[in-house]
Amino acid sequence: MVDAGWYMALAAAIFFIGVVGLLLRRNALVMFMCIELMLNAVNLTMISAGRALNDINGQVAVFFILVVAAAEVVVGLAIIVSIFRLRSTASVDDLSELRG
């Protein structure tokens, strides 16, 4: 049995890669994918903690995170598509309507 800590270290590494990607990339789609990476890393943490603590609620939490992530992707991609219709760009640098 692999210790839960190793799974958590892997999850932390993937979360970190997701954060770096979110900070560096400008394409809104790729930024979204990095958010998905971070959500998945958290899911892995939940599952390994639930297994180590012998608690099924870790997997129930992952279930809810999956549902919220799916809803978030649907709305987010719809927003990206409608922005692209108006501005013909998917780069977050070109969107500055809210700049004061």
Binding site: I56, A70, S82
Partner: protein
């Protein structure tokens, strides 16, 4: 032993996929890297006895969400080059410094820190966390039934919102 082998190979695939998501120039390649990460994550779930969650991961994430991503990439095109110069001043340098600090902190914690990964963990192989459908359904429909109903509402609102956004047209004149 088998789990260790599975962990190492699938962990490496997941890391490679995650790095691909970040460094790939073409968004389609990013999506493929994400697919690799999601599938190897599903394998890691199975090796931790989370069978139902692994199945849902493959069907919902690798099936539905990634297909949606590919549809949107197809819709808005992939030929756009990302600009190289920073819009925010010193963005890359700040990220690099921040990353270095976090990596040093995590490495120092692992090397010199004195802590348990999961303090209350038992060393025996658990059986109650065997994530079968009935094992997950029992707390889902008793303890968390309110949250479950809220997710139903959330999904309905999400679908309605996506349709409303897709139907939006700028008024002429």
């Amino acid at each position: 032993m088998a789990e260790a082998l599975l962990f190492v190979t699938m962990g490496l695939v997941a890391l490679a996929g995650a790095v691909t998501v970040v460094i790939a120039r073409n968004p389609v390649h990013s999506a493929m890297g994400l697919l690799g990460t999601l599938l190897s994550m599903a394998v890691l779930y199975v090796s931790q006895l989370a069978h139902l969650v692994a199945a849902v991961q493959v069907i919902v994430y690798a099936g539905a969400v990634l297909t949606l991503f590919l549809f949107v990439i197809m819709l808005i095109g992939v030929d756009e080059e990302e600009r190289r110069e920073d819009a925010l001043p010193h963005q890359r340098r700040i990220v690099a410094v921040l990353s270095g600090v976090i990596i040093l902190f995590a490495g120092g914690l692992i090397l010199f820190g004195n802590f348990e990964w999961v303090p209350a963990a038992t060393s025996t192989i658990p059986s109650a966390t065997n994530g079968t459908v009935s094992a997950i359904a029992e707390p889902l429909f008793t303890d968390w039934v309110l949250a479950f109903e809220a997710t139903a509402l959330l999904l309905t609102i999400g679908a309605a919102g996506a349709i409303a956004l897709a139907h939006y047209r700028r008024r002429e004149g």
